[in-house]
């Protein structure tokens, strides 16, 4: 599932039903995994928000609030980056480029902020989607040399 970039130092996987109660569980789990790195509290909070947005998108758009979908998350620590992959087997996104635009939203109240937060808070955001098959969002945080060192030593 993850793209290769140096050796894998650690990895977790989580699968859960597309129920809103699980969004908090997902972001706290991913943040706990990320807390193994020497990240600031701000950075951990940013990872929490980005994860929350990606999982919310899977629930709202991927599964259109159907609670029987399955969402998979993997978080992988490479030597030089942390990669979080959020995957659903929902309806997919027709136009990924448009969905990534700052003010684009199919829901006026959410203001299209979901992807904006993901892009602001992570170093790289990649979306793969196939209509009728599902969506995979890659959230990447590149690690500073000091963090890399610590990750390698742990």
């Amino acid at each position: 599932m993850a793209t290769t970039s140096g050796a894998i130092l650690n990895s977790i996987q989580l699968q859960f039903m597309s129920i809103p109660d699980n969004i908090g569980l997902a972001r706290v789990t991913v943040a706990s995994f990320a807390a193994q790195l020497d990240l600031t509290l701000n950075e951990l909070e940013e990872i929490k928000v980005a994860t929350s947005e990606a999982v919310s998108n899977a629930l709202i758009h991927g599964y259109e609030q159907n609670k029987k979908g399955i969402i998979s998350i993997s978080a992988t620590l490479f030597e030089d980056k942390l990669e979080i992959v959020i995957e659903d087997q929902g309806k997919g996104i027709e136009n990924v480029e448009q969905a990534l635009q700052p003010a684009y939203s199919t829901d006026p109240e959410r203001m299209g902020l979901g992807f904006m937060f993901m892009k602001s808070f992570m170093d790289d955001v990649k979306v793969e989607s196939t209509v009728g098959k599902g969506t995979r969002v890659y959230l990447t945080k590149f690690l500073e040399s000091a963090q890399k060192l610590q990750a390698a030593n742990d």
Binding site: P20, D21, I23, G24, R27, L41, N42, E45, K48, V49, S52, E53, S56, L59, I60, D107, E109, R110, M111, L113, G114, M116, F117, S120
Partner: protein, 108 residues
Amino acid sequence: MQLQIREEKENIYVKIHGELDLKVADDLRQELDETLDKIDKKDLVLDFIGVDFIDSSGLGVILGRYKRLSMLEGKLVILNPNPNVKRILELSGITSLIEVKDSLEYTG
């Protein structure tokens, strides 16, 4: 999520506890709207002292209530966000529309 609602002289004061994400968005929207329907005051003060987390789903509810109030020339004020929540509010651009204050500055 829990709300403590109080009618004050000039406004409606609501203290919010919890994490404002998709899980609570519908309930939050409904409870705030019912409060605005019930209590005839123009301004709404949301005390975020107990808010530990907010993302775009929570922000959407806040922005929706702001729109509702501003149509009737009412005002929305957010009090006491923690530093993390405050950063999210700032980054979303919502602080250019909605006043954000600490309690000490609030005389309401």
